[in-house]
Symmetry: T
Amino acid sequence: MVNHVYKKVELVGSSPDSIEAAIENAIQMAGKSLKNLDWFEVIDTRGQIKDGKVAHYQVEIKVGFRIEN
Amino acid sequence: MVNHVYKKVELVGSSPDSIEAAIENAIQMAGKSLKNLDWFEVIDTRGQIKDGKVAHYQVEIKVGFRIEN
Amino acid sequence: MVNHVYKKVELVGSSPDSIEAAIENAIQMAGKSLKNLDWFEVIDTRGQIKDGKVAHYQVEIKVGFRIEN
Amino acid sequence: MVNHVYKKVELVGSSPDSIEAAIENAIQMAGKSLKNLDWFEVIDTRGQIKDGKVAHYQVEIKVGFRIEN
Amino acid sequence: MVNHVYKKVELVGSSPDSIEAAIENAIQMAGKSLKNLDWFEVIDTRGQIKDGKVAHYQVEIKVGFRIEN
Amino acid sequence: MVNHVYKKVELVGSSPDSIEAAIENAIQMAGKSLKNLDWFEVIDTRGQIKDGKVAHYQVEIKVGFRIEN
Amino acid sequence: MVNHVYKKVELVGSSPDSIEAAIENAIQMAGKSLKNLDWFEVIDTRGQIKDGKVAHYQVEIKVGFRIEN
Amino acid sequence: MVNHVYKKVELVGSSPDSIEAAIENAIQMAGKSLKNLDWFEVIDTRGQIKDGKVAHYQVEIKVGFRIEN
Amino acid sequence: MVNHVYKKVELVGSSPDSIEAAIENAIQMAGKSLKNLDWFEVIDTRGQIKDGKVAHYQVEIKVGFRIEN
Amino acid sequence: MVNHVYKKVELVGSSPDSIEAAIENAIQMAGKSLKNLDWFEVIDTRGQIKDGKVAHYQVEIKVGFRIEN
Amino acid sequence: MVNHVYKKVELVGSSPDSIEAAIENAIQMAGKSLKNLDWFEVIDTRGQIKDGKVAHYQVEIKVGFRIEN
Amino acid sequence: MVNHVYKKVELVGSSPDSIEAAIENAIQMAGKSLKNLDWFEVIDTRGQIKDGKVAHYQVEIKVGFRIEN
């Protein structure tokens, strides 16, 4: 059995719709350059306000992925 | 007037759909064995990734309930 | 160029529907008395439980707004 | 049913007598200008020392109150 | 010599009188169902306000007790 | 697919030998009354000193286990 | 002797020059509407980058001031 | 005007009576070997339980004092 | 409108002169390999002492930059 | 004298044997693609449980390395 | 019964072998100048890397000891 | 090779001029009674306000020094 090693990168995704959509956007972008994406952790949730409404949610996540030998 | 005492338990609910659904699932399960559920606090939000998408959200909550004398 | 100064106030919004709706409710209320709302940060997410279900979400946010000279 | 919104303000009360008295002093002062005070949270407890004894306790609290529409 | 194992449970005690009384109330309740109570740790101190005064203190504690083999 | 729910309990294990042995002792004790133990998280590491040496390590962990429906 | 009560407000000052200047700008603005400013605490230091250089420092502070009876 | 320098030491006071008495005991002991005690900060509040009651409160404080040139 | 995604990297800059210079050095180095640098956050400030004086400041920052599609 | 800049990456190493072995595995993997590894910091220690025993330790570390000009 | 007062000092021990050995080294050194050492708490675990391997572990601990009257 | 042990002390330096000067003042004072000063860590930055301006910066640091055998 191998002793896996994982790396975590820190991303901020945004979406005008929901916290979940902001998370999905960040993960989708991460998947373009990284393989073996395994889990995410929400670090911070914030957003911009325009005209007294949420313009977009900004969710900071850490994404963990297995490093291939 | 009685001086109420509350207990808090720590649960992790999961759902493929949303953060709210993961919270609801954990509370629904807690309600099967505990009475007087009163409030919850979100401690941590994370999730698993499969095929570059969120497979399910995992939300850690603390659930507070009143202890009956 | 001016050196802007911002103030942050701490609000708790609630909604029976979702975390996002609770955030929106707090921001909408803030907009009634404050101008130049610029961003928000989620500080805490919790809620009340009634009959074994989430009765309403309570989301504590900080709202930042530019102070006019 | 209305979706209440609450605001929190940060106060430091002091008293030579006890932690509880310092909390009460801060709440009493808050009540002079704010309505609908609902709850408080202790953030920090400290104090000044004079002649090798506690001169007064300084307790930092957040006070939450419902914003009326 | 045995290698003791301890468990910690999270309780919220309340009292209209003082922080210490709220702690004592939580411990007294814990002692009704748990044996070998050994120590407590204060996690959070808050309370409800009624008519501009502290209605009751709510102190969240963790109580540690030795698990018997 | 089911939406699993997990519970976490907080334990303190001790051992005169090593941090790892203290963790193992806590998990072994947990396994006597709980099923489906899944993961642990180290929360705090401390210990007692006797005669200028470590008498035993005390490691506080949270143990997560799946709740069966 | 009176038992003073203090209030704390949260501000973000900015300056292209230094962390100290950003602090001073926030305090100067606070002084326009508040009296009895007594102390500040740095909460967070960040800034904007333009053309690979710091465009301005943004320092979040809490400012404490005595509430007059 | 001199630029004062302060040192902080970390103490744990205990008392069977109250949190305030535990703080006073620690400060009283500090005053036996240190001069110019100026302020204290409560870091942690815990205690021992005996026979289902608080045996003594243990309050960890930091004590600040001015260093004489 | 696009939903931007940002990445954050963690750097430690150093300078014998000031905290600001240490920040600038880290950002300047980041700009050699990364585009679209947008903001920084100070995480930790420390430094080395030589001959009883600050030899250099070491400032840990996170640098955020927009990921191009 | 040059003003060194360091970068920190976040890794999770695993080992069935010990916390130290999990750390070493993460560092060994980091050394395959990064030069000038200088220090590490333990961020989190956790692990998987199988059959009531620790199956493997998972240690999250940050690894710092000097960036060459 | 006396109300004991304890002091805590902050030490960093190092060892090329293990986390436990680094803790023991710090405690052994503390015992040369301090009496009544009672407990320790691990605050931080880090280390130096040389040639892609852990050169030595550096463990920051707080050591508590009873102050004699 | 010896396994060095370091001690850390907590100081608050002040200066009317800058954060850096407050740090230097604390380190200079530490150097009068301690040898082998090695590094410092900034813990907290605050200050006093007089007449709507920063009267002096107060920077809390920890200073680490090697203990000689």
